[in-house]
């Protein structure tokens, strides 16, 4: 079982190591993110994620922009005027590893699967690049890797964070969490992380940081069934490019099939009636 390195940064908190069978994940505490982007680089180095485009995005210190096949971690930066001063909010975004994952549900090849760690992984050797997972994801995490020539085997297929599946299998924590200098990214068993996050939130509220909130820590405000990666944010989710209430479209698949069946029945009835009328 993968282990998490280093103690949590909060006083009084202890390191909780996952044991076999635990669902594991990330708690990303944006209130202690220093925006260094070590997570982005450590991820790229471990997973051989290519550098596709070197360009200036004109959005504060963010030149990554968003998660994609070539950016599995993305640190967002936004600046705000606050109480006469200024605030600069940073957060390391990542695939949420939804418990009810639309990308996984809709994948027609089985390239995307749920691992023994309860994470969601794309198998680059299986994916045929059908593109279905891309609009299915409610967080806009997935894209197809395009235009990269040095790893032909992994181009034109969908790619995203694997939570370093290979490292987890080998008993190592994900590269981003290990690198994170301030442990803004914390890896561990999810129940323990959720409890820790709640305590951290309580502390922030006591300190008067009213804007602090947890995002995706529980299932109350979303349908994704809980997330393998959840966040402590300092502003509303939209400021971090997050949906307020993420959906899992496949949750309503039954209704859709029913509607399709009804539509098919109507068509059948129509065609049948037409055929019958034509008998005259």
């Amino acid at each position: 079982m993968a282990v998490s390195s280093g103690p949590p940064p909060y006083p009084g908190e202890v390191l909780v190591q996952p044991v076999a069978g635990d669902e594991v994940g990330f708690f990303t505490d944006s209130s202690i993110c220093i925006g260094c982007k070590a997570c982005e680089v450590a991820c790229k180095q471990w997973n051989n994620v290519p550098v596709d485009d070197i360009r200036y995005l004109n959005s504060s210190y963010d030149n990554t922009g968003e998660l994609s096949a070539n950016s599995w971690r993305h640190v967002s930066f936004f600046e705000q005027k606050r109480d006469g001063g200024v605030a600069w909010l940073m957060n390391s975004d990542v695939c949420k590893h939804c418990k009810h994952a639309a990308c996984l549900d809709v994948c027609p090849t089985g390239a995307i699967f749920r691992t023994e760690f309860d994470t969601v992984v794309v198998q680059a050797d299986v994916c045929n690049g059908c593109g279905y997972c891309i609009p299915a994801c409610p967080f806009g995490v997935l894209t197809r890797r395009e235009g990269v020539v040095d790893q032909p085997a992994e181009t034109h297929v969908a790619q995203k964070c694997t939570m370093c599946y290979d490292r987890l299998k080998g008993g190592d924590e994900p590269a981003c969490a290990q690198a994170c200098p301030t442990k803004s990214i914390q890896f561990g068993p999810l129940p323990a992380l959720r409890e820790r996050a709640q305590r951290r939130l309580d502390v922030l509220h006591q300190e008067g940081v009213d804007s602090a909130r947890l995002y995706l820590a529980d299932q109350s405000d979303n349908e994704i069934g809980g997330a393998g990666a959840f966040f402590l944010l300092l502003d509303e989710p939209a400021k971090y490019r997050y949906p307020e209430r993420p959906i899992t479209p496949t949750k309503r698949l039954g209704g859709m099939w029913l509607a399709a069946a009804a539509a098919a029945a109507v068509a059948l009835a129509g065609v049948g009636a037409a055929a019958a009328s034509g008998r005259r």
């Binding site: 936004f78 090849t109 609009p135 894209t143 490019r241 997050y242 399709a260 109507v266 019958a276």
Partner: protein, 290 residues
């Protein structure tokens, strides 16, 4: 002046969702799949009602429309050489997986039906059974594509999840009827013409209801890349249906059929193109709702 585009536009105006990457081939496939599926239904219904002439055109249409489908789908893949991975798993949660299996099965039985038609004898009987199976599979083939789109996070699709199948079913019926009307002499084509008119009305009605349901999101059918095909779909389908009511004479029926076929294709383009526009419009994070 400053960088705080975040305040009004979410995060620097970046959409929450990623745009679908499907190419125009997919719209053509949706159209052909619908045409093939409902043509099979029409063919089987005509057979049952004793209209073999119409049945023959319908089955021809089903078979002809089916043939380009696999290549169209494969071309759209990022890795076409891995198309066979579509049959690795059988996933009830994936409309695309189910659709692939349906298409595969439909292809098999349609081929069997065609063989029966050609070979006759004992094969003709088997062909009849295959026709029944094809007709049964033709229904989901014509509608699963609507589910495929609805089963995404794209608001303009997902919020229309209960309407899209009707739009697609109507459009498919219209196109199948239209094809039948074109390929069949007038004296045998009345069921096809009626089916075409019925399908067109269903499509137009469902599309209207869908836009009402979508509310503000319906704008993606009136502006952007989907606007022209949507307008074309409405106009072509409406005109085609109207003309089809006068379709007693074959040239008129043929003209109406062409209009309806074009309208049906335009409808699929409209729906497919509305997706990226809608995904792009999710910058404020609030529009993705259940």
């Amino acid at each position: 002046m400053t960088a705080q585009t975040t305040a009004e536009g979410g995060y620097y105006g970046r959409p929450v969702l990623k745009e679908p990457v499907w190419k125009p081939e997919v719209a053509v496939y949706f159209w052909l799949g619908g045409l093939a599926g409902i043509s099979a239904v029409l063919g089987f219904a005509a057979r049952l009602s004793g209209n073999d002439r119409l049945a023959r055109s319908a089955w021809f249409t089903a078979f002809a429309a089916l043939l380009p489908c696999p290549p169209l789908l494969i071309v759209d893949l990022g890795r076409p050489e891995r198309f066979y991975n579509m049959l690795r798993v059988l996933k009830p949660t994936s409309p695309m997986s189910m659709g692939t299996w349906v298409l595969t099965a439909f292809g098999g039985v349609t081929a069997a039906a065609a063989a029966g038609e050609l070979l006759g004898g004992i094969f003709a009987t088997l062909g009849r059974v295959a026709e029944g199976a094809a007709a049964l599979l033709g229904l989901p083939l014509a509608t699963y594509t609507a589910v495929l789109l609805a089963d995404t996070s794209v608001p303009v699709w997902h919020h229309a999840r209960h309407h899209l199948p009707f739009v697609f079913a109507g459009s498919a019926t219209a196109s199948a009827g239209a094809a039948g009307a074109i390929l069949t002499p007038s004296q045998h084509s009345r069921p096809a013409r009626l089916a075409a008119i019925f399908g067109a009305l269903l499509e137009l009605g469902a599309a209207f209801a869908m836009e009402r349901r979508l509310g503000p999101d319906a704008r993606h059918y009136h502006e952007g890349a989907a606007a022209r095909p949507a307008q074309a779909a409405r106009a072509l389908t409406g005109a085609g249906a109207a003309l089809m009511t006068l379709g007693g004479r074959r040239p008129v029926a043929m003209a109406a059929g062409v209009l309806l076929l074009a309208g049906s294709l335009a409808e699929r383009f409209a729906v497919l193109r509305a997706g990226p526009s809608s995904a792009r419009a999710t910058a404020d994070g609030g529009t993705v709702r259940g």
